[in-house]
């Protein structure tokens, strides 16, 4: 399974092995009888609801895993199993190598006080406490002195740009501001692991975008290990290092955003990817051609890690293939403007599979390319760039 992080170097921070969560009275007996082969329908007939069905995965240090699924897919249940807000029915969960499910409640409290932070969809702020007191709350239950926790809380207030509002009550804040408080609270104890349960789902689209940017900024500074739950596929694509797509408690596919878009593992996943504008999601790396014998490159070089859309115009202006380089400036591939046209305007299978958009006509002019079919007509005039 490809991962942006080298798994051989670091131990996983979160390690789930065949985690099951089944709601209902006879869950344990049913599961034992099923022998690891859980069929949701059979269980439902017996009055049980399958929340999580054999989830196995690892999350590595500094990685952001987004669990994506529609409501009832078990994504929040999975998160709650890993934070042990819900008791797991079967399976093993290790946090930094320690067996989470074997922990006593005392150990669990210690773990949460020091290693975990969580943000909730409905913000879950304490209505009787001010912004400052809410943020200081985890520090105070930990037994820090008032002065110390308030000082730290004030730093957090600044981190989420709520200065000047620290003495407001939650009811006096907008949704976005409330969630900033939720974020600040979850970060107050400097946790290693950060759980976010649909943190932006209750917000308006514009605010949501703003909060996502804010979140990316924070993660850029903090490098937490993150488990992020959302039902919004584009949010998942925007934020994730890796995405786990869940359906009926089963993880349908767990992969990088690019691989999910390019190679949906199941029909269900493919449906999500259909409407996705690839150039806004994919990096150059995922569409570049391998280096061949060619030597005639344009002067332009682009990084393999940039999103396609951001360099599309520049690539189209070049008649020769454009070099793609990695972090150390080694050439790792190339992109030709024809390929870019396929990516931008091609049908579903234009990308990655090598096939693609087959224009009804294509005329090379002096200044650029004109192509199209009965539905569309494109003229790419590159003279302006030359």
């Amino acid at each position: 399974m490809p991962s942006p992080h080298d798994s051989s170097k670091s131990e996983p921070v979160i390690d789930c092995r065949s985690v099951y969560k089944i709601f209902g009275e006879n869950a344990n007996r049913m599961l034992r009888d099923a022998g690891g082969n859980v069929d949701a329908q059979t269980f439902q007939n017996a009055g049980c609801v399958v929340g999580v069905n054999s989830a196995s995965f690892q999350v590595y240090r500094g990685e952001m895993l987004v669990v994506m699924g529609l409501s009832g897919s078990g994504k929040s249940t999975l998160l709650r199993c890993i934070s042990r807000l819900t008791e797991t029915t079967a399976g093993e969960i290790y946090i930094d190598g320690e067996d989470l499910l074997a922990m006593s409640s005392k150990q669990l409290i210690e773990l949460r006080r020091n290693k975990m932070g969580m943000v909730f969809q409905s913000f879950a702020l304490l209505p009787h406490k001010t912004v400052l007191e809410n943020i200081a709350f985890p520090l105070q239950v930990k037994g820090k002195t008032t002065a110390e926790s308030m000082q730290r809380a004030m730093d957090m207030v600044k981190l989420v740009s709520l200065d000047g509002r620290e003495n407001y009550y939650p009811r006096q804040l907008s949704g976005g501001q409330q969630q900033r408080v939720g974020i600040a609270r979850s970060l107050a104890v400097e946790p290693d692991i950060w759980f976010l349960d649909e943190p932006f789902s209750a917000l308006d689209p514009l605010i949501r975008k703003e909060m996502q940017d804010e979140f990316l900024r924070l993660q850029g500074v903090l490098h937490k290990t993150i488990l992020f739950v959302t039902h919004d596929f584009s949010e998942a694509l925007r934020l994730a290092d890796r995405i786990a797509i869940m359906k009926d408690g089963i993880i349908e596919q767990l992969d990088t955003p690019a691989n999910i878009v390019l190679n949906p593992a199941t029909e269900y996943v493919r449906k999500f990817t259909e409407e996705v504008p690839r150039e806004k999601v994919l990096k150059i790396e995922s569409v570049m051609d391998p280096i061949g014998a060619e030597t005639d490159f344009s002067d332009l070089t682009i990084s393999k890690d940039v999103i396609i859309e951001t360099v599309a115009e520049a690539v189209l202006a070049e008649t020769k293939p454009v070099r793609v380089v990695d972090k150390d400036n080694n050439i790792v591939g190339s992109v030709h403007c024809a390929k870019m046209i396929h990516i931008l305007f091609g049908k579903d299978d234009a990308v990655g599979t090598g096939g693609g958009y087959d224009p009804f006509f294509q005329i090379q002019t002096e200044t650029g390319t004109v192509f199209g079919d009965f539905d569309r007509f494109f003229s790419v005039d590159t003279s302006g760039f030359a």
Binding site: R80, R113, S122, K129, V141
Partner: protein
């Protein structure tokens, strides 16, 4: 009852063991603790020797005449309350406290008021703590809830009086008995509201607390209880009101203070004095209520870097004020003549009083309005009340059963029919069926009038957001008045008759009907009203076709409250002479064998209330569901 399980008890005076029933020892021990607390607080306010006696002996007092605990000068108590009010909420509360306490002092009611206060200061915190405890227990353990709920239902519909007899049997007579009766009466609503509040705490808030690393205790005390604060505070407010309502009723079993004096004044028909005492009770209720609210909502400033003087500013001001008042009280000895020190305590006979004014007002009304009032009075009694009473009493028992169970069947099927039938059967099997019918007739009459009035007033006020707010505020204020207070003005107008009782009941019971009507109509989804407007309805059509049908389930919950309020008030009406169940409960009080009777009568009243409660709640719930409002 007290022969059961005898134990040996050591008597230090006789220096030997004596045999006493275990139960008696437990209850007496409990009584003495409560009594000690009340007297300790009381002596802080008004002085005395009993606290010193508790730790020494009467002989010690006799030998050392100096050993008397001095009372706090009233100026200290007033100033202290004002400073407390200011530190908690600001100027408004300080002024309110100042006005309230100076009124009490200037009108010469200081001593009884402090007696009542000491009693409330023991009963109210005890009720709040017990209520919280049981509320939390029933939240944590379902079994506790299932056991407690039916008990609470009965407890909340039992009239105040019926608690008194059992309490005197177990705990004797006196302030402590009054306090215990009050605690028993005030705890159920507190339990209920605590549970309600805790159940409303969102799951995610608890999860957030767990993820913050709270242990069980921290989740409970730092998260659950404060988050449920709103409902819990309503509970505290109810407790305070119940305590002051009971201040009067508890005086039947020996509680001293304003209530006792009020009862006396009412019995002597000294309307003016009763009014002044009533105002004192209301003022204490309002100040306590506002102080407790402000205390629960106070805010802390963490970053102001304050010196010692600033941090302890209020304590320091109080200390200075305390010294000044003591000095004034000391000097007062020399300033005022006749051994009365106005800076220390204004005695009962020295306070100003408006009694003559009210008395002459009553006299004037009797002189000028007598014919009219009496005409109304007689007309009501002869033309409405007596025929109605005759109809209730004349109905065959089987017909009553058929009627009530039939309604039950229509509203909630066989189950409801059997439930209300069971309640009725209990009453029918006691010897007070006819008395219960009289109670029922008075309640029915009052409820019909109250509900109509409440719906009309409520509907009118609901037309305008400002008027709604004002009306709700008035309802809030009126609800702070102990039920007893309503009897005072009506006796002024109608003398001691059934009409008086009914008018008082109607005024008291109209409050919930009005409140729920306003809330119900204001909560009608605005898009439905818009849809109505766009269909071109007139104001009247809006009210009849949209507001009322949609708000009706909620209004019926108000009517339910109206029934319970009316029932309580009818029973309290026994004090000014009625011939229903209440009168018998009152009689049971002075009867040695009264405990059984008192309880049975109380249950009769409770079951009338529960039957109506069951019918209305079942109907409202199903109606709300079918309207999609729940």
């Amino acid at each position: 009852m007290f022969d059961w399980w005898p134990v040996d008890v050591y008597d230090p005076d006789l220096e030997e063991y004596e045999q006493f029933a275990l139960l008696r020892e437990i209850t007496r021990g409990f009584s003495s603790v409560v009594l000690f607390l009340i007297e300790f607080i009381r002596e802080i306010f008004v002085g005395g020797v009993k606290t010193i006696v508790t730790f020494t002996s009467w002989e010690f007092i006799r030998e050392n005449p100096w050993a008397v605990w001095p009372a706090l000068p009233w100026t200290v108590v007033m100033g202290g309350t004002m400073i407390l009010g200011f530190s908690l909420k600001g100027r408004g509360l300080a002024i309110l406290a100042g006005i309230a306490l100076s009124y009490i002092s200037v009108f010469g009611q200081w001593e009884p008021a402090m007696q009542t206060l000491s009693f409330v200061l023991v009963a109210a915190p005890a009720s709040v703590l017990l209520g919280l405890l049981f509320g939390i227990l029933s939240f944590k353990f379902r079994t506790v809830e299932t056991i407690l709920m039916p008990l609470l239902n009965v407890a909340q519909t039992m009239p105040h009086f019926s608690y008194l007899v059992p309490v005197t049997v177990f705990f004797g007579v006196g302030d402590h008995a009054g306090a215990i009766a009050t605690i028993i009466f005030a705890t159920p609503p507190m339990i209920r509201l605590t549970l309600l509040g805790l159940k409303k705490v969102p799951e995610e808030v608890v999860e957030a607390a767990l993820m913050s690393g709270c242990n069980n205790r921290q989740v409970l005390l730092n998260v659950l209880v404060p988050t449920a604060r709103r409902d819990i505070l309503i509970g505290v407010n109810q407790v305070i009101m119940q305590c002051l309502a009971m201040a009067v009723i508890a005086s039947f079993i020996g509680a001293k203070g304003l209530g006792f004096n009020l009862l006396l004044a009412l019995n002597q028909l000294r309307i003016g004095q009763a009014l002044e005492l009533g105002v004192c009770i209301v003022l204490i209720a309002v100040v306590l209520d506002k102080l407790s609210l402000a205390w629960a909502n106070q805010q802390t400033d963490y970053f102001s870097d304050l010196g010692f003087a600033q941090r302890h500013k209020f304590s320091l001001i109080f200390a200075v004020f305390f010294a000044l008042c003591i000095l004034a009280a000391f000097l007062g000895q020399y300033i005022f003549k006749g051994g009365i020190n106005y800076f220390y305590l204004i005695p009962h006979n020295q306070g100003i009083t408006t009694e003559d004014f009210w008395q002459s007002g009553v006299d004037w009304m009797v002189e000028n309005w007598y014919a009219g009032l009496q005409g109304f009075n007689r007309g009501l009694i002869v033309n409405v009340l007596q025929p109605m009473k005759a109809a209730f009493l004349g109905m065959p028992v089987s017909a009553t059963f058929l009627l009530v169970m039939g309604i039950g069947y229509i509203v909630g099927g066989l189950r409801s029919a059997l439930t209300v039938g069971g309640f009725l059967l209990f009453i029918a099997l006691t010897e007070w069926w006819d008395r219960a019918l009289i109670t029922a007739y008075m309640t029915t009459f009052a409820v019909i009038v109250s509900a109509t009035l409440g719906m009309i007033i409520g509907s009118l006020c609901a037309q305008n957001p400002f008027a709604s707010k004002a009306a709700l505020l008035v309802c809030d204020t009126l609800q702070t008045f102990p039920s007893f207070i309503y009897l005072i003005p009506v006796i002024m107008l109608f003398g001691v008759t059934d009409t008086s009782v009914l008018v008082a009941v109607i005024i008291y019971a109209t409050i919930p009907a009005t409140r729920y009507t306003i809330e119900g109509i204001r909560n009608v989804p605005p898009n439905l009203r818009d849809a109505g407007l766009m269909s071109g309805v007139s104001k009247l059509q809006m009210w009849l076709k949209i507001d009322l049908p949609l708000a009706f389930p909620h209004i019926m919950l108000g009517v339910n409250q109206t029934v319970i309020f009316a029932l309580f008030m009818v029973i309290i009406g026994a004090m000014i002479g009625t011939d229903d169940l209440g009168q018998f409960i009152l009689k049971a009080l002075s009867d040695k064998q009264g405990i059984g009777n008192g309880l049975m009568l109380g249950l009769c009243v409770a079951f009338i209330g529960l039957a109506v409660d069951h019918l209305i709640n079942t109907w409202a719930a199903s109606r709300k569901t079918s309207l999609g409002l729940s």
